[in-house]
Amino acid sequence: MTVTVIAFGIVKELFGGSSITMDIDSGDSVEQLRTRLEHRYPRLKAIASYLIAVNNEYATPEELIKATDEIAVIPPVSGG
C-alpha cells in the first residue's frame, strides 16, 4: 500500500518537499516505516531523535500503520 509522509523543518530539505509517498507492506509498523525511510534517506539517521507522528499523535515503534493514516516525520522541535 502507498502512504503519504509529511515533512517539517529540516526533514523537508531531506525529502526535497513537504511530503513524499512511500510503498509499504500492509501490517508494517512505525519502526518498519522508519527503517524504510532511513534506507531511502540515509541522512535522516543524522537527525538526533526525530519522531514519527500518526494521526497527530506521537507514535510508538510497534504501532501498525493503516493506508488512511496521516503520517509525519517530526524533527526535534524548537518552538516557544
Binding site: I6, F8, G9, A53, N56, E57, Y58, A72, I74, P75, V77, S78, G79, G80
Partner: protein, 130 residues
C-alpha cells in the same frame, strides 16, 4: 478553563491575562517569550516559525489539561505564533491563574518547558551573516 491558540497574528498579552482572570484566583503567572537578537554569537535578523498546526494545537491542549490535572490552578492560556517574527516580537504567551501563587508559578514553568519539548513547532533563524 483552557484557551489554546495558534495564530499568524501578533499575540495580545492583555487578552491572555483577561482570559485567566477570575474572582477565585489570587495570582496570575505569565510567561512571555520574545525573539532574542542573537543565537550563539550570531546576530538574528528575524525568525520563521513553522507549525504542524493540527498536532501543535492538540499537544498544547494536552499540556493545558496536564496543568489543570496536576496543579490546583483554575485557568490556563497558551497562545503561540507562526510565521515571520522580528527581534522583540512575541512567539508565545502562557498565562496560568489559581487561588495561590506557588502552583501558578510551577504550572506555568511546566507548561513552557513541556511546550519546548513536545509541541511540533520549528523556528528557523535568519542571521545577518546569512
Amino acid at each position: 478553563m483552557r484557551d489554546i491558540q495558534l495564530t499568524s497574528e501578533p499575540l495580545d498579552i492583555q487578552s491572555c491575562i483577561d482570559l485567566v482572570s477570575s474572582p477565585g484566583c489570587g495570582g496570575i503567572n505569565v510567561f512571555i517569550g520574545t525573539v532574542r537578537e542573537e543565537t550563539k554569537g550570531r546576530k538574528v535578523v528575524r525568525l520563521e516559525l513553522e507549525a504542524y498546526n493540527a498536532m501543535a494545537v492538540k499537544e498544547m491542549e494536552r499540556i493545558a489539561d496536564d496543568v489543570l490535572g496536576k496543579w490546583p490552578v483554575h485557568n490556563v492560556v497558551i497562545h503561540h505564533r507562526t510565521g515571520v517574527l522580528n527581534v522583540g516580537d512575541i512567539p508565545v504567551v502562557i498565562a496560568v491563574s489559581g487561588p495561590h501563587r506557588d502552583a501558578a508559578f510551577e504550572a506555568c514553568r511546566y507548561a513552557i518547558d513541556t511546550l519546548k519539548h513536545t509541541v511540533p513547532i520549528w523556528k528557523k533563524e535568519i542571521f545577518e551573516d546569512g
